[in-house]
Symmetry: C2
Subunit: 236 residues, 2 copies
DNA sequence: GAGTGGTCTAGACCACCTT
DNA sequence: AGGTGGTCTAGACCACTCA
């Protein structure tokens, strides 16, 4: 047995994924076990492998499902999530989980250029966004209340950038994007119906206006299999 | 037992990571098992968790080690790997694993704008790059021989972009970057002394010159914990 | 050669989802 | 209420690394 058993089980399962449709539920682990003749732990090893590859995902305590293709995402463009996803023939949705004015954490305060220990507060939004009904990301957005007073009176499921532009006359001219693989915390996992510790992709965006003010600090945690970043850069 | 045992083991191990230096080897799994009183599988569960979080990594069949901090990488800048890493106070190194002229695969041919079934060949380089002696990425670079004839006569551990500019007068003015979490194939894992299926980060760069020609197609597979992308975008 | 991590087995119990 | 995935145990053997 030169190649481990769990890899042949992986291949066997992978072969069937095409027959199952996108989003379809896989047979139970105990069924897969019966078919493959392996112990359940070995079957799970194979499933974890496919999860890392982005071919299947799980909904916590529910089961394993075939991954839909990833969304292609350009964090430097400002078309907005709803437009992007629709352009790719998918159905986006946004849900605002919370919206409040709260004290700025040190990280947020620094990102928005607040003075240390100023005790400033920020607008904090938490949104869950889904593609074709599957929750793919949770984001925390922080906005300086001095730049966008009364922000919370707007409909927050829309493009926030449009609100900033149309209601406050603030245009984004510079964006700093940070990206890093991560593990889902228990909070993030709960929001995404995933298991805590599942692999994710962290994208942090800080947006600046023409005056150089940090207007928006956006922290997005994606399911790692749900997104592919694509950026097009032209040098001057 | 509201929180799973493997998570308390994780916390216990995480607490000790500070005391161990960066790059230090963790105690063996059987030692950790003895300390925690858990079964070995549970200890491994905890270690996998820390691996996903990017706090520890393993060298295949050797053991678990404390992760150094990630390299901050801007794929849109052309400073080059060696310059980047050095700027961050780390020691970069590059090793050319192979350099040859070979038929272009369909993916490469399309990326470089070759006509379909043209039977064109390309220069293909495979390089391994390390930070402080730890292999962090393997890259496959493909260059159009019509644009850079005799490329293989140069010293290929250097910045390829500089060679293109200084020897061939080709400047990159546009870059398309694609990025996606992935799993290491057995080939990539072998090059990086990792386990096949370990989490990775795939970065694909296609670079164009002023004439709009695709000059270079670069496919980089990173250890997922070794890199943090950072991009700064200004809109005109 | 000793000890390591990698793989694998064959069970078990529980909390939770689904029906 | 039944079945699921999540967690956990207590072993075992092997290929490999390292001293």
């Amino acid at each position: 047995m030169s190649t481990p058993h769990y890899l042949s089980v992986r291949d066997e399962i992978a072969r069937r994924l095409g027959a199952l449709g996108i989003g379809a539920k896989l047979p139970s682990e105990r069924e897969l076990q019966a078919v493959s003749g392996a112990a359940r732990g070995t079957v799970r090893e194979a499933l974890f492998q496919l999860e890392t590859e982005g071919l299947i995902y799980r909904r916590d305590r529910s089961g394993w499902y075939v991954c839909p293709p990833p969304i292609v995402y350009d964090p430097t463009q400002w078309a907005g999530f709803m437009a992007y996803v629709a352009d790719q023939g998918r159905t986006p949705s946004t849900e605002t989980l919370s919206a409040e004015r709260a004290p700025a954490s040190p990280v947020v305060a620094q990102a928005l250029g607040f003075e240390a220990d100023g005790g400033r507060s920020v607008y904090a939004l938490r949104r869950r966004r889904a593609v074709d009904g599957r929750a793919v990301l949770v984001e925390d957005i922080h906005v300086d209340p001095l730049i966008a007073p009364d922000l919370l009176t707007f409909s927050l499921n829309d493009s926030l950038t449009r609100i900033l532009r149309e209601a406050y006359g603030v245009s984004i001219v510079r964006t700093r994007v940070d990206m890093q693989p991560c593990a889902l915390t228990s909070v993030e996992a709960a929001v995404l119906a995933a298991k805590p510790g599942a692999p994710g992709l962290l994208i942090v965006r800080t947006s600046f206006d023409a005056l150089g003010r940090a207007v928006e600090y956006d922290r997005e945690v994606w399911r790692h299999d749900a997104v592919r970043l694509q950026i097009d850069i032209s040098r001057v």
